[in-house]
């Protein structure tokens, strides 16, 4: 019971982990190269979600400090870090997709299984 209660209080952590596992599993097992890239993004996004959730303070305001107002702020650091993380993720995605298009030009398919088949026929 205790466990379920803490789980429902921190459900966003659970969501992040589920997304992470979905992304990782698809990335490693799916044959379609484009879907691998999408899964990579899901995995990255799950970690971003976790990070931002960690920095959130319930009822906190945006971290723009005003001298007069005495309020609680959310932690700005995870947000700033994840901006960097998103930029990194975008560049990896762009590069991966460009590789997929080049592979497609050679084989006419983006399915890893079909590529293996084509190569084995050539040999």
């Amino acid at each position: 019971m205790e466990f379920l209660k803490s789980l429902s209080n921190n459900y966003y952590y659970l969501v992040a982990i589920i997304l992470f596992v979905i992304g990782m599993h698809t990335m490693l097992t799916h044959a379609n190269l484009i879907k691998k890239v999408i899964a990579m993004n899901i995995m990255d996004a799950s970690v971003f979600l976790l990070f931002v959730a960690v920095g959130y303070v319930r009822g906190g305001a945006a971290p723009v400090i005003e001298a007069s107002a005495n309020r609680v702020y959310v932690n700005p650091l995870p947000g700033a870090l994840m901006l960097t993380g998103i930029v990194v993720g975008i560049s990896v995605t762009a590069y991966a997709l460009s590789l997929v298009t080049k592979i497609f030009r050679y084989y006419g398919t983006v399915d890893a299984d079909e590529i293996v088949e084509i190569r084995s026929q050539e040999q």
Binding site: F20, G23, M24, M27, L28, L33, K36, M40, M43, D44, S46, V47, L50, F51, V54, P78, L81, T84, G85, V88, S91, V92, Y95, A96, L99, V100, K102, I103, Y106, Y107, I115
Partner: protein, 491 residues
């Protein structure tokens, strides 16, 4: 004083060079390689200055932009970091000299400028990994390094390169994803990203939230095991390192996988608290995985027919020795592992360069087809033989010293089995390196093989490498003394 800013300049200079290189390539392609070499010489000079200053004034921290932690990013300058920096930059410069001539033939002319940019990016990011003292900063440098190293594989745009590059990219993205999740878990419970502050806060956090910290430790091991190709997470390495252009293979196999092993070492002994390491046998996990890597890497290498693929599998065995030093958790063994890190960098880069020379001159890649080329290409096969002897660990070569210290460290911890495995690993190396050398010198040349002349600079860099292998085998004392200072305070 300018010297104060050397740590950050060592990182920024190659990165800035990487961004300016395409501009230079548009105006004057011929100047790209000299510019790259100039940058590498400059940063190497800076690293040597750092070492010299370290000797007189001791380790220190550099705060980026003048912001002290916990707000700013911190770079650490101590013997261990500077040692690795010297390895990265020294090997980087040496391989770049070789690549200058080799890539003129291997790449399309319009790609030379881009290759220089990628190479500078790769070196800059590795220098960053070596110096950084911040968990998130490490992640950023790892991603830069991953993209740059995939790009130097795929630049030839043949089918094999593209597929190998994509596989590497996906697996390495998995590695960095795991690492980022680990950082999130650590940040959750400690509120810090700086190595020193995390280390201070972790014991308390580990007592309150053991699951978080344990999961983070496990994720860190997975992440760096993928990145450094620790068995059984090595599957991307053989294709990637075999398909890449020879200089890329040399830098990837010689330097890039080592830098991740080093990052794991730092996280293990400078971030994770000792109490955690003794409570959960993380060391044992790494130790036995590295043993499996040493054995299976060599066995896979034996059955390869392609020379570069064999060298790539041999890297999996050799990175096992570096992880062995991390797993043994003993000072002597760690000195051995770090010494092996330098030496394997030299030998493996040398072997890949020699393979590049053979491919350039005769177009031969299959191991069986190398019979009799020793007398035809004496200045290529001699360094190859020296590096092969060093892989086996013949006295007088650098390969022996690292294994010697590893074995001594294993004896100190009372693990006789590990000593036996280290020796058996050497014998396994002998099984696949010696036949190539014997075949090249004693068997007759197969018919229909013609030899093109190899540029002198390529051969000269091979000979320099062979000299370095023997130098570090004979005069190991200064480096070992430096390493002993570097690993003080670890245990």
């Amino acid at each position: 004083m300018m010297v104060e800013h050397f740590p950050v300049l060592i990182i920024v200079l190659p990165l800035a060079g990487a961004f300016l290189m395409p501009l230079l390539a548009r105006r004057q392609v011929k100047l790209c390689w000299p510019a790259l070499l100039l940058i590498l010489v400059l940063v190497l000079g800076m690293a040597v200055t750092l070492l010299w200053r370290l000797d007189s004034s001791g380790p220190y921290f550099y705060h980026l932009g003048g912001w002290p932690p916990p707000w700013g990013i911190e770079l650490q300058v101590d013997f261990l970091r500077v040692y690795l920096l010297l390895v990265v930059l020294g090997l980087g410069l040496w391989i770049a000299v070789y690549a200058w001539r080799d890539l003129e033939h291997e790449l399309k002319p319009e790609l030379i400028g881009w290759y220089c940019a990628l190479y500078a990016l790769l070196i800059g990011s590795m220098a960053g990994i070596a110096l950084t003292n911040d968990l998130f900063n490490l992640f950023v440098f790892m991603e830069i390094c991953a993209i740059a190293s995939c790009a130097v594989i795929t630049i030839k745009e043949t089918r094999e390169c593209l597929e190998a590059g994509f596989k590497y990219l996906i697996l390495s993205a998995m590695g960095t994803g795991c690492y980022l999740l680990a950082v999130a878990l650590i940040y959750m419970v400690t509120g810090h990203l700086n190595f020193a502050l995390v280390r201070e806060a972790l014991p308390e956090a580990a007592a309150l939230y053991p699951n978080n910290v344990l999961a983070a430790a496990a994720l860190i091991i997975v992440a760096f095991a993928v990145k450094a190709a620790l068995f059984p997470l090595h599957v991307w390495l053989p294709d990637a390192h075999a398909a890449a252009p020879s200089p890329s293979s040399a830098v990837l196999s010689g330097v890039v996988i080592k830098i991740y092993a080093f990052a794991l070492l730092i996280l293990f002994y400078r971030v994770l608290p000792g109490s955690l390491l003794s409570a959960v046998p993380l060391n044992e996990v790494i130790l036995w995985l590295s043993v499996l890597g040493i054995v299976f890497g060599s066995i896979f290498a034996m059955v390869q027919e392609d020379l570069k693929k064999m060298l790539a599998y041999s890297s999996i065995a050799q990175i096992g020795y570096v992880f062995l030093g991390i797993g043994l958790a003993n000072r002597t063994a760690l000195v051995g592992a770090l010494y092996h890190l330098l030496n394997h960098g030299i030998m493996k880069a040398l072997l890949f360069m020699a393979a590049g020379n053979i491919i350039h001159a005769a177009g031969l890649r299959r191991i069986k087809s190398l019979s009799g080329i020793g007398p035809k290409m004496p200045l290529t096969m001699l360094p190859f033989a020296v590096a092969g002897a060093s892989m086996i660990g013949i006295p007088g070569t650098g390969g022996l010293i690292g294994k010697w210290f590893l074995a001594l460290g294993a004896l100190e911890t009372g693990r006789l089995l590990i000593v036996i495995i280290i020796i058996a690993g050497s014998l396994l190396n002998a099984i696949y390196y010696l036949p190539i050398i014997i075949n090249a010198y004693l068997n007759p040349l197969s018919e229909g093989v013609s030899f093109k002349p190899v540029p002198r600079l390529m051969t000269a860099s091979l000979l320099a490498g062979a000299a370095a292998v023997i130098f570090f085998g004979v005069f190991s004392k200064p480096v070992v003394l430096l390493l002993e200072r570097a690993v003080t305070g670890f245990f």
